[in-house]
């Protein structure tokens, strides 16, 4: 509340000197030559200049990076110095140094890498910092004797890159070890394959020109030797999975590959002393190609996972400010949330997340519960009201008594629900189709038939035919085409802002029948905006100038709608804000009051009948009327509500046109949900409101259990209250701006705003499946022709060796060159946080 006659001059709109986004009028200060959109941007700008790193801004432009408004957390990071955790969070390097890995928020371009890696220069005691751009993990080596890790944390925080201890370090290490092992196998296989091809080429040439025997024998024995690393090292994964499959009586796709490798190798090895054909080069090339495809697949999946991890950010509040000492203004100390006991008091500043479930002891404010419950309207709270962890404090400082913290909070319980639902998901490593299994069985059957049919011609002939058959019909298509098509599709999708964490989702989307949508934040914008306005322009302009002094949700709504049109500087005096009621003052000499009906009438304003009727219709429509009084007369009425997204109606219409059944599951009031459903053209029966997170999950389970239901269920949501349902649905889609828990639970994360990317997801998935089907079809054709030739004995080893890589190459090209995800390649939209 600001009292007194402070004169504020509204200034013309400006761009933030740090992040370049528009500066909200409330933050404009006349007389400053540089404007900033928030305190965070101002702080980072000044720090960068104080340290002499202005080069950062030039780099951002050169690298085409995009800046975002920064939000330093202001924490002191004392927990990083905790001696008991040192072994957990860091390793010793030499005698006097330690190395740790920190996950940094807010890393988005090369300039960030430059700035972060300058830290050793700016902070003595830090030896090196290396930042990985795709995973946002920084490896820091520092000397504990010279600088504390908490100081490093604070420095990073002040630059705008809030660090967190990298909690997934162990899983990260395991993944990295697997990637390295695979890369080694690919390298060995490729090197040996190329050398074997040289040797085999010499042998082919020798056959034509009749090379002398000692040399031929030499080449043949060398071929055997060089092929050993491939068989014994690189090809081991195939033998291992084929054997595991046999023991479990499952026909795995690797079985014919393993069989072909084994039989062809033994046959060739036995032939080495004699004159028979050798297949070493074909084998090595096959192994190299298959492992290479796997490498590409892993890389694509890892990139998508890392990106999804970085989008998640810190899933939950980890630290809180506990009040120590008597009184409500005692000093606050930062402690981990788990260390809080019921009965202790914490303070929640404006703009922060509430860290615990509890009761308000002091302060009046409004909370945004949308992430937890789906309620679109901010909830006013004052002393005695209950609050939940995860809500955003939109207003003033609150002091909260702790009732439950960490995993015992409502949000923590929801997260546990998500983990439980995820643990029931079967782990599928490859896209194995029924078709693949039938193909494998057919090849094996054909090999057996060939063996029997030509048995009378002797072992040599039988072996020759069978080996030629296995080499030609090797399931390159299955080993190469499907993984490649999927990987390339995923990478293209990622570039279009659609991150598919789970490749099985692409296949499940084929059978999609029902789409369940959350309302708040998914179909609607998720924040209060001025949806309706009736009144004169002067009233609007003056009201906006007045509201620029407030950070209330209604003020933000006014700024969002009218604020950008401010052109005239206005003198604002005598501002009085009554939290929860309204704001009054003098603007350009007029007496202006904005707020609830009770507030403006208490200020002495009368409401004309037509505006009164209009307000009543707004109420009936589910909006909150806001009255603007000018010099004692109400001159305008605005409707504040949660606006539908611009693309919601058209997207839903197109989904319906594709034959999908649409339903809405929301935690918001049923009346509001029904109105939204009506506006979207949905059957009111299919829109359910007032659902708790558990009820949403149960609704998904009930739908899935309906008798006679075929087809997959897709759930689209963004908040913590959707996470359990997302995890349970066949395909869970998290929308831009979603809470950490829903990103963890989802199979697909959309990072472009709006609901329209859903359509791109469906069409992209359909195209990927089309590419796979086409590849499979063509390979089957080729395999059939090849099998016939091999069984008839018309294919020699040279022809087999040539046909196989040609087919692999053709399949590879077809996978990579086909268009799959073609959404617009725009970076996600960022708004300054007003």
């Amino acid at each position: 509340m600001s009292v007194g006659s402070e004169r504020h001059l509204s200034v013309a709109p400006a761009a933030c000197a740090h992040c370049g986004l528009a500066v909200p009028p409330a933050e404009l200060h006349a007389g400053d030559d540089r404007q900033f959109c928030c305190a965070g941007c101002r702080q980072v700008y000044e720090l960068i200049h104080a340290w002499g790193y202005e080069h950062y801004y030039r780099l951002v432009q050169e690298q085409q990076g995009a800046l975002e408004p920064v939000r330093p957390s202001g924490r002191d990071f004392a927990d990083l110095d905790d001696a008991r955790r040192q072994d957990e969070i860091s390793d010793a390097v030499g005698d006097d140094r330690r190395r740790t890995r920190l996950y940094l928020e807010g890393v988005h371009c090369a300039a960030c890498v430059w700035l972060v890696e300058k830290l050793p220069e700016a902070l003595p005691g830090v030896c090196s910092v290396r930042l990985n751009l795709s995973s946002s993990v920084a490896e820091v080596v520092w000397q504990p004797g010279r600088v504390a890790l908490s100081a490093v944390g604070r420095a990073l925080d002040r630059l705008g890159y809030t660090p967190h201890v990298h909690t997934h370090a162990r899983a990260h290490d395991a993944r990295r070890a697997e990637d390295r092992a695979l890369l080694l196998k690919v390298g060995v296989a490729a090197a040996c394959a190329m050398n074997l091809m040289f040797l085999q080429g010499a042998l082919y040439a020798g056959e034509a020109s009749r090379m002398a025997t000692p040399y031929v024998a030499f080449f043949r024995w060398l071929s055997l030797g060089v092929s050993l690393p491939v068989l014994l090292f690189s090809a081991r994964p195939f033998f291992q999975t084929a054997w595991a499959g046999l023991r479990a009586r499952v026909v795995h796709v690797d079985l014919p590959i393993a069989l072909a490798l084994a039989v062809a190798f033994v046959y060739s090895a036995v032939n080495v002393p004699g004159q028979g054909p050798l297949y070493f080069d074909s084998l090595a090339a096959l192994v190299a190609a298959l492992l290479g495809a796997r490498q590409v697949q892993r890389h694509a999946q890892r990139a998508a996972l890392e990106r999804a991890d970085s989008l998640r950010g810190a899933a939950f509040v980890e630290f809180a400010r506990r009040l120590e000492g008597e009184g409500l203004n005692a000093a606050a100390r930062e402690v981990p949330v788990e260390a809080l006991e019921p009965g202790e008091r914490v303070e929640v500043r404006s703009g922060e997340l509430v860290p615990v479930d509890g009761v308000v002891l002091a302060g009046r404010s409004s909370l945004d519960n949308a992430v937890l419950t789906g309620e679109s309207r901010p909830v006013e709270v004052h002393e005695g009201d209950a609050v939940s962890a995860g809500a955003t404090n939109l207003g003033a400082r609150l002091v909260v008594r702790v009732d439950a913290a960490g995993t015992r909070t409502r949000a923590g319980a929801l997260y546990a629900l998500v983990q439980e639902a995820l643990s029931h998901r079967p782990q599928v490593l490859q896209v194995t189709d029924a078709l693949a299994r039938r193909f494998v069985a057919a090849v094996l059957g054909l090999a057996a038939v060939t063996a029997v049919a030509w048995a009378s011609d002797g072992v040599q002939v039988v072996l020759q035919r069978v080996v030629a058959l296995l080499v030609i019909t090797c399931p390159c298509a299955l080993g190469l085409a499907i993984p490649l098509a999927v990987s390339v599709g995923l990478m293209r999708g990622a570039r279009a802002g659609i991150f598919v964490k789970n490749p099985d989702a692409l296949e499940r989307l084929r059978r999609v029948h029902t789409v369940l949508l959350d309302k708040t934040g998914t179909l609607t914008e998720g924040r209060a905006t001025l949806v309706d306005w009736r009144g004169d322009d002067l009233a609007a302009a003056l009201a906006t100038a007045l509201e620029a002094q407030s950070s209330h949700a209604v003020a933000q709504a006014f700024r969002a709608t009218f604020g950008r049109r401010v052109e005239v500087a206005r003198a604002v005096d005598d501002v009085r804000e009554v939290p929860g009621q309204g704001i009054a003052g003098r603007v350009d000499g007029h007496a202006v009051a904005v707020g609830h009906l009770a507030f403006v009438t208490a200020e002495g304003a009368r409401v004309p009948d037509d505006l009164s009727a209009h307000a009543a219709s707004l109420l009936a429509d589910g909006q909150s009327p806001v009255y603007v009084a000018l010099d004692g007369r109400v001159a305008g009425v605005g409707g504040v509500g949660d606006a539908l997204r611009a693309d919601a109606r058209s997207t839903l219409d197109r989904l319906r046109a594709q034959g999908l059944e649409l339903r809405v599951l929301s935690g918001d009031h049923p009346a509001v949900v029904a109105r939204v459903a009506g506006r979207l053209g949905l059957d009111p029966e299919h829109a359910r409101g007032g659902l708790s997170p558990e009820q949403k999950r149960d609704a998904v389970a009930a739908l899935a259990a309906e008798p006679g239901r075929q087809g997959a269920i897709v759930m689209v949501g963004d908040g913590v209250n959707d996470a359990a349902a997302l995890a349970l649905a066949d395909v869970g889609v998290a929308v831009l701006g979603g809470a950490g828990a829903s990103i963890v639970a989802a199979d697909v994360v959309l990072t472009r705003p709006g609901v329209a990317p859903l359509l791109d997801l469906l069409s992209g998935a359909a195209r990927v499946r089309a590419v796979i089907r086409r590849n499979l079809g063509l390979s089957l054709l080729y395999n059939l022709a090849g099998a016939v030739l091999a069984v008839a004995g018309l294919v020699g080893p040279l022809l087999a060796a040539v046909l196989m890589p040609v087919s692999s190459l053709a399949v590879t090209l077809m996978s990579t060159l086909s268009p799959t995800f073609t959404g617009a390649r725009r970076a996600p939209v960022r708004e300054p946080r007003t």
Partner: protein, 73 residues
């Protein structure tokens, strides 16, 4: 042409050395991050400064963590 009995093993040995170097590179983590080094190449090298223009200093009290213009020592 008897030299082939020497030349080929030597050639394979050289290939083996190259392979060993590849194995070393993978094991020391040089293939772990292929994106960031590509970006780092574009930075200009500046001569290291003896002292930073402004000693960054720690905020002594957690509430100092949002400095104003007068914060820097």
């Amino acid at each position: 042409m008897e030299t082939i009995f020497v030349l080929l093993p030597v050639a394979l040995l050289i290939a083996g050395i190259a392979l060993a170097m590849f194995v070393w590179a993978v094991r020391t983590g040089q293939y772990d991050d292929l994106e960031t080094p590509a970006v780092r190449m574009l930075f200009d090298d500046e001569p290291p400064r003896e002292t930073p223009r402004d000693a960054p200093g720690e905020p002594t009290h957690p509430s100092d963590a949002a400095p104003t213009r007068s914060d820097h020592p």
